[in-house]
């Protein structure tokens, strides 16, 4: 998956947890989940769980800690998808 494809899917994962729906269309790598998208910090766990289900990956605690903005979310998801693909090869 390209970063663009991951971003498009990530928007759908994030949508139920942001009260700032208008901003969702224009998010970029720098968009902060808590400060910009006004996501409750407790809900970051739910986004991680939903992302795990969506991409069929596992996000460990250390990787989850890096998922602060949209860019780092895509980094982690992209890394975990390629790890999974490695395993299948």
């Amino acid at each position: 998956m390209t970063r663009k494809e991951i971003l498009d899917e990530l928007k759908k994962v994030i949508a139920p947890y942001t009260t700032n729906k208008e901003m969702l269309d224009s998010i970029n790598d720098q968009t902060d989940l808590i400060k910009d998208l006004k996501i409750n910090s407790a809900n970051l766990v739910d986004i991680i769980i939903d992302a795990e289900a969506k991409y069929q990956i596992e996000i460990d605690y250390d990787s989850a800690d890096k998922m602060i903005n949209v860019g780092t979310c895509i980094d982690v998801i992209s890394e975990k998808i390629s790890q999974k693909n490695e395993e299948y090869r």
């Binding site: 139920p16 009260t19 809900n43 766990v45 739910d46 769980i49 289900a53």
Partner: protein
């Protein structure tokens, strides 16, 4: 300590009407909210009818953000939120606030978290998938879930307390809110209670053989307080909420006033002298009613209406006797008495708040709702109370003072005295 406390807002989620207009129409017309539950037949329950509010779950997005709504599974929380926020709007106030409302608190009760919703948690944990539970379980499993949702939505900054006293929960919550304002701790309190009787709780009551099992084919007849044919109660779900305010505080903002709370009492029979885990000590009940009258500075003769606990079990006869003894009134002199449970069944911890909403509506609209299904009154009841004191049709009548009581497992009692606002 001389301040007066008034009711300025009402909200209700009842099996026979969601929202005050629908509920008022239902209780004036004796409309039953009891329905046959096909699922209970499948589960081999003896009693297969229940009172379930006709509640559109997605309507909750009118009250809370979509983010909060997403992941909300606790039915009891949903009912409580809707009733409390309706009561708030009814009292003429806006939901939104940036600053906490320091002068306003909340006492809201419930008995148990939604066990059906919690089943998912148990399944996940047992399948070694606890990691997938997410962030929204704890806040809905905790007993204070409903008060947390209400107080968070409205920014309440005063005391926020969750109470639980079985079937006396609702009446007790109202009394606690009244006392906080009376003692000057708060100017306004949201009080009430909520209950969702899921299949697991229902099944446990069914096993106790205390439910009405002979009317599965005519559900609206199943709840029969004070009858010979009363074979037990009907478990029901719902929520009731009231906004209580210090009188001066309410008058300052020109709030509409439904009624006044003169006082009340909450005690326990100590599970002695005939009282047990599941039955009331008559001395405790009598004391509770008499203390409520004393705290309200009224005499027994002033009571125009008793809104009884009257569940349609064997305890009804003892309850009538307790009232008669506490008030020293009998026969033609016994106050007019009704049981909302004849229409909606027994909403357990929500019973007291929904029945209090009904009591206040009867004061505000000057009527007495009927006892439906009272076709064969029990002789031990009619020995103490003249039949015309137990109206089977709605009566339009001047009523000034209503006594509302509920009695719960654990031998706990609560009694409130409501008055027309003068």
């Amino acid at each position: 300590m001389s301040n007066r406390i008034v009711v300025t807002g009402l909200g209700v989620v009842s099996p026979n009407g969601v929202g005050i207009p629908a509920f008022l129409h239902a209780i004036q017309n004796g409309i039953s909210g009891i329905k046959f539950m096909p699922r209970y037949e499948e589960l081999n329950f003896s009693c297969q009818v229940a009172g379930m509010p006709d509640f559109e779950w997605s309507n909750l997005t009118k009250y809370i953000s979509e983010v909060t709504f997403h992941g909300l599974k606790g039915t009891n929380i949903g009912y409580g939120l809707a009733a409390a926020l309706d009561a708030w709007a009814d009292s003429g106030m806006a939901y939104e606030t940036d600053e906490p409302r320091w002068e306003t608190g909340c006492v809201f009760g419930n008995s148990i978290a939604d066990t059906e919703a919690m089943k998912n948690v148990i399944t996940r944990v047992d399948s070694k998938e606890a990691k997938k539970l997410g962030s929204r379980v704890v806040e809905q499993a905790m007993n204070s879930g409903v008060t947390s949702y209400i107080s968070g939505r409205l920014g309440l900054g005063n005391k926020v307390i969750t109470n639980s006293a079985a079937c006396a929960t609702g009446t007790q919550a109202i009394l606690m809110g009244y006392e906080y304002i009376k003692h000057g701790y708060a100017k306004r309190m949201i009080v009430g209670s909520t209950e969702h009787v899921d299949t697991y709780v229902y099944g446990a009551f069914d096993s106790m053989r205390v439910l009405s099992r002979k009317f599965n084919d005519c559900p609206e007849k199943a709840s029969r307080p004070m009858s010979i044919s009363a074979g037990g109660f009907i478990p029901s779900s719902g929520a009731g909420a009231l906004i209580l305010e210090d009188l001066d505080f309410a008058l300052q903002r020109n709030a509409k006033i439904y009624a006044e709370i003169l006082g009340g009492s909450s005690n326990s029979g100590g599970q002695r002298l005939g009282g047990t885990m599941t039955s009331a000590n008559p001395v405790g009940v009598t004391r509770c009613i008499q203390e409520a009258m004393a705290n309200s500075e009224i005499l027994p003769q002033q009571i125009d209406l008793i809104s009884g606990h009257l569940t349609a079990t064997n305890a009804d006869r003892q309850e009538i006797q307790n009232w008669s003894q506490a008030l020293n009134r009998i026969g033609d002199d016994f106050p007019l008495t009704n049981s909302l449970k004849s229409m909606i069944g027994h909403c357990l911890s929500a019973a007291g708040s929904i029945e209090s909403v009904a009591s206040i509506l009867q004061i505000a609209h000057q009527f007495i709702h009927p006892n439906i299904n009272l076709e064969d009154p029990h002789p031990e009841v009619t020995n103490m109370v003249s039949m015309d004191r137990l109206p089977v049709k709605m009566i339009k009548k001047e009523i000034n003072i209503v006594a509302k009581a509920n009695f719960g497992f654990g031998d706990v009692n609560s009694c409130l005295i409501f008055s027309k606002f003068n």
